[in-house]
Assembly symmetry: C2
Homo-oligomer: 438 residues x 2
């Protein structure tokens, strides 16, 4: 199976866990069999590999997510990096060109497109395999997954199939309806459109060449910024007469809000939490290392991260976006290509950060104009380079760097350090990168 | 006026703001006219000084609170330090002896005893002055304040006066009643017993000598640990026939629980907080530097500090003690004689702490056997002494100290540092103090 996972943008719907730079699909939220936690991306990737060990998985995303994807899925996973956001048609065209030109997938092979964050069981990925096989038969140019509705949702588009067969020609598509209309659709046998479909690689390559003037993947990548923003639905689906739909009746959840996300939690709390006996229907997700105590709370979601603390009525939590959009705040936690950082103290003329470098990784070689820095290595072993001078470091070592001095650190084992930044104008933008010649 | 403020022990009823080492009376909770926050201790001390500039204020407390009292009230305030906790009779005897022998207060002068944490207006302290004056008249050996009840509380003891006059002989005392009994007391003109009373210094000195074999303050202090634990009520009040009560009808609140404390807040929130329009009767007290967002919450108290996060139904919050007593946790924040510290990162083999030294103060000269330390000075100026070697330090300086090395730091201006502790067995008990000869 060739599968393209569309990894959407960042957002604050799951603040304080998600924010402008940390997308919900990277939050480690789901308990695995060995009692560790995995993210949506990790869960979906693991499920795909269980169903099809040889699956060719490509993640289509923006460059801001590349570090997090490599950290969570390893270096081998295929990534089709969108130089900028241009809606789904350019993204799918680019990923398809990547599969053809870089991964050398044949034109007659099928490609399955799926969002990166459905909360599903393995039967869902079995259904995706079937979707790919159906696309390869060539009975239709697009084969969609139609999810059997469990209630008259206003959140989804609907697909009305021509027949009640497992696989059917699509009669019509319907936009997100109100509840009454949704009921009438369901009475007519309508299915939810989860944005999942398969096609022969050749089909989308042809469509891409029809609509975009490019030679190959590299060329498409180079001119990506000039492309028109257009959705795959608008550019392709709405104009295509030969579309089939395959029914899927298994579990399927779209965990886009606190309300739906917490429903999928195996246990009521993650992290340090104490609920008294008077609590009912309370979920706590705590990324801090101090306890959250809840007393007499009902139908409430509590979450704490280095970014902030949310205490919300379960229903009310769906209105979070405009409220947290108003909060102007420094980023307190981020995954980087080399590991992660966490702001642990903010003062007038200093910023203290805990930095974790993954084994074998290093930061960019860089300098700052307006701040001095001190690295206190607290665990692990590695190498620092300061103004071209290289030296090994281990726990207990201290490196001081004046403003202007070029520096980097690489980790042999996992390496943690406390970085103290000192200056009157500390800013993430005060950073000059250099090529390291060693 | 000579006034002894009884500063009670620590407790977790206001967790996460109060804990085993941080008592509620030191939490900066009340907004002053210049929009700063003051603690209960600061508020009461300021009110006393407004009513009586020359008031002789003594705080009777344990040695664990001395640092916090000096930090909050300055070095000049009188403190009668109890070497250990021995209930109210020994504490009042010790404070009275302190007034007599150290402060040279005459035997005929009156002393007013008052808890350190009533939430009251200035008229209350005017009433305390009257209480003292009444005691000096010598009509009775004890003059109690009787607070006009506002409801049939089960939380307080009751005083039943013989007459309805402003000042009356006490007829009887009643223990904390149930609500129905409280109603019948109130119908008989009963008053709440707020634990406030005045006496002539000689009276309590005589009682003390009757019950304890001691010569003077220094002697009483030295043998304090051998004294019997006994309450002032049991030792004195219950055996004294000549007791008067003076009515007080002004505002009086006992802010011992989250419920009562938040009722006294001038604004619904302290610290960074965002409440949506669907919130009602919500109080937030946030000591962290990240926002708390509340959505659709009703009758809820939220508080966050370096120790943890509380989310509680307003009524339910009074049951907090047994729940937080179970939480075993490192102290994350403390006021010390020299300033304060705040744990900002905990890792397996390291602990990172932000230390603030007040101007003119220094730490004890000390060493650790099982950990190295690194000081990163982030602001201010001062002097470090490491193994007897003295050197000035300023922002940007780094001092590394191996286990066993003796060290201290003193602040010229307010001095802040990030202290990184490194070792396999980091413990607050791993500390040897030394006399500094410089």
């Amino acid at each position: 199976m060739n599968i393209v996972l569309l990894s959407g943008g960042s957002g604050k719907r799951l603040w304080p866990l998600s924010n402008d730079i940390r997308s919900k699909q990277f939050i480690k939220f789901f308990k695995t069999e060995n009692s560790e936690y995995e993210s949506m991306v990790q869960r979906v990737y693991r499920q795909i590999k269980m169903v099809d060990t040889d699956a060719n998985v490509i993640i289509a995303t923006s460059k801001t997510q590349v570090s997090a994807i490599h950290n969570q899925l390893g270096e081998k996973v295929g990534i089709s990096v969108e130089p900028c956001r241009k809606d789904t048609f350019p993204a799918i065209a680019l990923a398809t060109a990547y599969l053809h030109d870089v991964r050398k997938i044949g034109l007659e092979e099928s490609v399955v497109i799926c969002p990166v964050d459905p909360y599903v069981e393995n039967d869902y990925f079995e259904a995706l395999k079937d979707l790919g096989k159906q696309a390869e038969k060539g009975e239709a140019n697009l084969v969609l997954m139609g999810i059997e509705p469990t209630y008259p949702s206003e959140k989804y588009g609907y697909i009305i199939p021509a027949t009640k067969n497992q696989t059917s020609i699509v009669d019509t598509f319907k936009e997100k309806p109100d509840e009454e209309t949704a009921k009438s659709y369901i009475a007519r046998g309508a299915l939810w459109n989860g944005g999942v479909f398969a096609y022969k690689l050749k089909y989308v390559m042809d469509k891409a060449h029809e609509l975009i003037d490019f030679t190959d993947y590299a060329d498409l990548f180079d001119k990506y910024e000039t492309l028109e923003k257009i959705s795959f639905d608008y550019a392709v689906v709405e104009r295509e007469p030969k579309i089939q739909v395959m029914r899927f009746a298994g579990d399927w959840k779209d965990l886009g809000t606190w309300n739906t996300l917490t429903e999928a939690m195996d246990e009521p709390t993650i992290g340090e939490a104490v609920l008294d006996d008077a609590c009912n229907n309370v979920n706590v997700v705590n990324e801090l290392n101090v306890p959250i105590v809840c007393m007499g709370m009902k139908n409430v979601i509590v979450s704490a991260s280095p970014e902030g603390i949310l205490v919300s009525d379960r229903e009310q939590s769906s209105y979070i976006k405009p409220i947290v959009d108003k909060i102007k705040q420094q980023i307190m936690f981020a995954e980087k290509s080399w590991g992660s950082f966490h702001v642990i103290d903010v003062d007038e003329t200093s910023l203290t950060i805990k930095v974790t470098l993954n084994p074998g990784h290093r930061m960019n070689y860089h300098s700052h104009q307006r701040r001095d820095e001190i690295w206190n290595v607290i665990s692990g072993e590695g190498t620092v380079i300061v103004d071209g001078m290289e030296q090994p470091v281990k726990a207990g070592d201290v490196i001081t760097m004046q403003a202007g001095c070029r520096h980097t650190i690489s980790a042999v084992t996992e390496l943690k350090l406390i970085e103290v930044q000192l200056g009157d104008e500390i800013s993430v933008h005060d950073k000059q990168k250099f090529v390291l010649n060693v």
